[in-house]
Amino acid sequence: MYQYDHHDQTIVNERAAQFRDQTRRFLAGELTEDQYRPLRLMNGLYIQRHAPMLRVAIPYGLLSSTQMRMFAHIARTFDRGYGHFTTRQNIQYNWPQLEQVPDILDCLASVQMHAIQTSGNCIRNTTSDHLAGVAADELEDPRPYCEIIRQWSTLHPEFAFLPRKFKIAVSGAERDRAATQVHDIGLQLVKNAEGRVGFEVLVGGGLGRTPIIGVVIRPFLEKEDLISYLEAILRVYNQLGRRDNKYKARIKILVKETGAEAFTRLVEEEWGLIRSSLKLDAQEIERVSKDFKTRQYAKLPATNAQVESLLTSDKEFAAWHRRNTVDHKSTGYRAVFISLKPHGKAPGDMTDTQMDAIAEIADRYSFGEIRVTHTQNLVLADVEAQKLPELWRELASLELATANVGTATDMITCPGLDFCSLANAASIPVANGIQSLFEDMDYLYDLGEIRINISGCMNGCGHHTVGHIGILGVDKKGEEWYQITLGGSSANEASLGERLGPSVARDEVTGVMEKIFLTFKELREGEESFLETVRRTGIEPFQERVYENH
């Protein structure tokens, strides 16, 4: 993975020192709450329902075991012994003390990490495919470009006070696992007619109150033009994006109100002025890329007798192997998902003990690296297939081998009303209620791949609009109610979910989900996935069943 040199290290050190002084000035009354707010947000610090919340960046989801150990240390020393992994490849701590946050930032800087621009109206953490570099369907590793974007966007002098937050995602594979179509800018590595690799550029996607799928404004961008083109988009947005209404301030609204063609013209005009002065050197791409090409894969057989025999003799291992591991580009290796969705726990949470243990496991099984997925799980990307049985046993002893990745209980869930001051309704207890339907794991596997996403308010941190089943918490006269949508997806054929009908009370959600699953089983043809069935039948049969007695 990318290694800081003294320049990169100096920047995070100086940023931590700057924030220490900003916090001192705030506590001394030299900065008002209004003045301190954007400064602390740009260092990931929110003031939440119970305490401050600190969001730490995991750039494009990649962590070393040393960094994971530091997460454990921070959880133990400054928090209540756990952390929460988010949908944008960050980790959040829910209980730090404001006065101690500068110390946490120093701890992070000591392992080449930071909380820079993880919140606020600025360019956020650039996210990517959690299988980058190992996926069989990959054209090119997107992570060097993510790192180049991270550096360009870090403390960018012009774009620290944008109309609203700004999120960039990069994907290099055929299958989009980075949700590029629902980001402010989505970059997809593509090959043009001459065989050169560059970027397809999408703009104006996003979730939240006004979910929109992004539009392609440039089908092919040369790699050397990456920075100038991003800069052109950001400059147009910074000048013309709405600042009169925070709910209309995202770039998606500007693109929509200007029209995609006119917006593209503005970007291309601006780009023409700056293109030649902001060229990205091939040497720089090479310098950053080499840090991602350090693997020495062993020559391994495609199959292993011990694994094959366990697959037939142990049903639980077989289920875990099928659900929680995927193909690797190198023969004899597999990528292993670590489910952070054990039934009955808060999705995405991990204790300090588990973090330390995973760091140690990563050292022994996967080159000392761990990835974080936007579905709030972890990945050990480079595991020798022959070692899967012993890894599985170790993970199981840590309660980290729940064989549910990609299934109905592998839900994306925001912190919800239990933690978040924006939320209207709880998320975690709703997820736990749905998980309680699946004491019988065979029932879960029978339903196949289903993405259920839960948000506690319309800001949509739980990505409900792109869930195959989306659940949105709303406030109805002080009570928690839930709107349900079907048919959303953030993958290649991205779509927004369609509303099933009137919202339902909190204690009805689990029952409604049961009816949806039942309807699916009746309608399903062959091995169809839930999403395929909904796309084929439409939502009407589900509506009829759910609301039959209303």
Partner: protein, 161 residues
């Protein structure tokens, strides 16, 4: 009144005229962008140092025809969270080729001065009573930058070694 200019605390010579005031020969005066565009040919000949005040929502490209006549552009920042002034500074320097003084005034934080300085803002005007020597610390908080800007012509990737 004292301001920060080119990293030093200095006495300010400029006066800021409202749209009803007349330009006086031998003075250093700023006018609004609308007033600048409305100046008559006679007014333009008055021997003054002329400056202009730009609000965040105003298109800085409107200065294109006046860039040789003016020696000061004041970015009237308000509120400090409105980041359009940052792009205005950059466009003034890099696209309009303005070589005179660019000044930040109005509502901005010490913590924004470094970014503004990087974009080519060279003077800073604060409310009366502000501790200017304290504000000078803003320029020394960072010693490394990733991006090229007015203070550093090359991005970091061409300077590593």
């Amino acid at each position: 009144m004292k301001i920060i200019k080119s990293g030093h605390v200095v006495e300010d010579q400029w006066v800021h005229l409202d749209d009803e005031s007349t330009l006086q020969p031998g003075t250093m005066a700023t006018v609004s962008l609308d007033r600048l565009e409305a100046l008559t040919d006679e007014e333009r000949q008055i021997p003054t140092s002329l400056g202009v005040r730009i609000r965040p929502g105003e298109d800085v490209n409107r200065l294109n025809n006046h860039i040789k006549r003016i020696t000061l552009v004041v970015l009237a920042m308000n509120p400090f969270t409105d980041g359009r002034s940052f792009s205005q500074a950059r466009i003034l320097r890099e696209q309009l080729g303005f070589q005179g003084e660019i000044r930040a005034s109005g509502d901005f934080l010490r913590d924004q001065m470094y970014y503004l300085h990087r974009l080519g803002v060279d003077s800073f005007e604060f409310a009366e009573g502000t501790d200017l020597n304290d504000r000078l610390k803003a320029f020394t908080e960072f010693t490394v930058t990733y991006q090229a800007a007015q203070d550093e012509p090359q991005p970091l990737f061409r300077r590593r070694g």
